[in-house]
């Protein structure tokens, strides 16, 4: 970071009301959250985030660098994060695949950072300019080994702004790369975005060690399962490795260290899941059929619920703000008191597997699948609701 620049006085938080697309809103959310480093590689439909970052960061004394690929981008933001600077990258499917190994390094070394994946339809190059939601399981399981993830799914430009701030807060709080699972339509959709005054934005910063260097253990967790994080250049002389490591951060090539480390990486998310998971529940109280949806498909679902209600169907909606961890408890409860759960998604059925698992057979679970290229028509969801209710209980 550099200072003494005449432009440093520029505003990080553009308080006001804007007509803005989702990618731009993501960038503004990041800047409002304190992001001052962005490394990325151009890819449709996420390019606008990088473009805006390249224009905005210099004004704020931050650094934008266009790397040679997405592998390098992911590595660079982690380097910046250990330097004590909030950092992010953005990408889409092919680039997201390239980032996977280093996302694993981020999980293992507990590096706060944010990745925004503006999904397009795949596999492979697929439909570069058109919507898909096919990376949902990749966000959960794409890197090797066993771990827990945090992923959020915005369904509007406003949520691109809000959820990007939340992604930074979660990444700082739990020391983990947080994924924003957007999609092409949300990224390119232009809508009203309200940016609150700076003082009203709640920000979380990584916890710093409270002890001097000779007493500090980089991976000894506090009560919440997260260890305070000393950064580079702070005199703590930390050693950070992607090898299985103990509380000192030193490699431990044995069963005990592996179990201890992986259990803690998993535990710090699972044990805090009630603080991490957020859903928006619409018309749930009297619902006999409930849609569970995320991203742009939650917008189709909102419309379908409204139409269903005016047709006399008691429909409800659970909009997943966090897709990972999945709201298991809520789904288990709802499944016991509704006639059907329906999930629309722009893939051949990914999150629906998790929905089925959590419903545990308590009610039928239906998928409204669309393979990408356009959003799901609300009529398809409405039709699935009617069909589900027609069947005998």
């Amino acid at each position: 970071m550099f200072s003494g620049d005449k432009r440093v006085a520029a505003k990080a938080v553009l308080t006001g009301t804007y007509f803005m697309n989702g990618d731009d809103a993501c960038c503004e959310g990041a800047l409002a959250a304190g992001c001052r480093f962005f490394a990325g590689y151009p890819i449709t439909p996420a390019t606008e985030i990088a473009e805006r970052m390249s224009r905005r960061l210099p004004d704020l004394g931050g650094v934008y660098i266009q790397m040679e690929d997405e592998i390098a981008s992911m590595a660079a933001i982690m380097g910046a994060s250990w330097g004590g600077v909030k950092a992010m990258t953005s990408t889409s499917g092919p680039g997201f695949s390239l980032m996977m190994e280093n996302i694993g390094l981020g999980i293992c070394t507990e590096t706060p950072c944010v990745v925004c994946n503006v999904q397009r339809a795949g596999p492979s190059t697929g439909l570069p300019t058109l919507v898909g939601q096919g990376d949902m399981m990749q966000a959960r399981w794409g890197s090797h080994g066993h771990y827990e993830m945090i992923a959020l799914s915005p369904s509007s430009p406003q949520e691109m702004f809000d959820f990007t701030i939340r992604a930074f807060n979660l990444s700082e709080q739990y020391r983990i790369p947080v994924i924003i699972m957007a999609d092409e339509v949300v990224g390119h959709l232009t809508e009203r975005v309200v940016i609150p005054p700076e003082g009203e934005i709640e920000l979380v910063a990584r916890r710093k060690p409270a002890v001097p260097p000779d007493e500090y253990l980089p991976y000894r967790p506090d009560q919440d399962g997260v260890a305070p994080m000393a950064g580079c250049g702070e005199g703590y002389r930390i050693h950070i490795t992607g090898l299985t490591h103990d509380e000192h951060g030193y490699p431990g090539m044995n069963v005990e260290t592996q179990a201890q480390m992986v259990n803690r990486l998993i535990g710090k998310i699972r044990n805090n899941k009630d603080r991490i998971i957020r859903t928006e529940n619409i018309c749930l109280d009297d619902a006999e059929v409930v849609i569970v949806a995320y991203g742009i498909s939650a917008r189709s679902a909102t419309r379908a619920v409204r139409e269903a209600r005016s047709a006399g169907i008691r429909a409800g909606l659970i909009k997943l703000e966090t897709v990972w961890p999945f709201p298991e408890t809520l789904i288990r409860d709802i499944a016991r008191r509704v006639r059907a759960l329906i999930m629309p998604e722009i893939n051949a059925g990914q999150m629906v597997l998790e929905l089925e698992r959590c419903a545990g057979g308590a009610c039928p679970v239906r998928l409204v699948s669309h393979l990408g290229g356009s959003i799901i028509h609300p009529g398809a969801i409405l039709g699935a609701m009617k069909d589900a209710l027609k069947r005998k209980q």
Binding site: R36, A75, G79, A87, R237
Partner: protein, 298 residues
Amino acid sequence: MKVRKTKESPPPHPLEKLLRSERLPHIWCSGCGIGTVFSSVMAAIQKSGYDPDRIAVVSGIGCTARMAGYIRLDSFHTTHGRAIPFATGLKLARPDIKVLVISGDGDLLAIGGNHFIHAARRNIDITVVCVNNLNYGMTGGQLAPSTPLGAKTTTSALGCPEEPFNFCYLASACGAVYVARWTTLHIRRITNSITDAMQKKGFGFVEILAPCPTSFGRRNKIGSALDMLKFYHERSVIRNDIDPKDASVDFENHIVLGKFVDTERPTFMDNYQMACNGRIGNWLDPNRAIAPENEAGR
């Protein structure tokens, strides 16, 4: 009454303050050249005069990359090939920190080759130390982008069918501002070169040819570690300031060593700050008259 003999504690290692001695013994095989380079790196850090709390070491994966785990500095042992982009992010976020990348030949120039050429092109202000042992030692001796044509490795039992890179020529062509090559016999020169590269602003590259008797020497009938060093000693010639394209590593004849590049060029951060302040200027003024053709350029 029995008198228990008290064991006298050995004198501290001269580089004790930079060693994570609690992590010893290290993983390197006897006869390996990495230890020599490790000592030189620590000596260079001391010599450079920088505050050790403001120096970071970044490495990838491989035998050489394990140095990061033995040095008592902020140290990052990252993913295979990705030390340079990690170091790039760290350096740009924290220009006040001196960043060293320490890497083996396969890590740096096979899987990490793309990052290497781009970091040199951008002139990222980092020092890259490469221990070149002509093969992948950690995984048992497979062919690397440094393996000489015809050399035997576990994945080229019939002889390596690929031509190797000339790392120094590559670094220089990509824009590195400091380029040097030594062997592990040249301890003082390695130390001086790493110190010089650290004190220089921009992308510095120091290659060190190192014996790997366990994986490479054994299959290529070079003999013991000592024999490999003798082999290097007999064939090494020092040609400072020679054109890097002529700085060949020809094991049949001569291994050219020396400092080949020592120049100045704005770093990424210099240019980025110029751009941010609106002072970088335009790429091109199409209306400007073309300069008269240089005689020598005809």
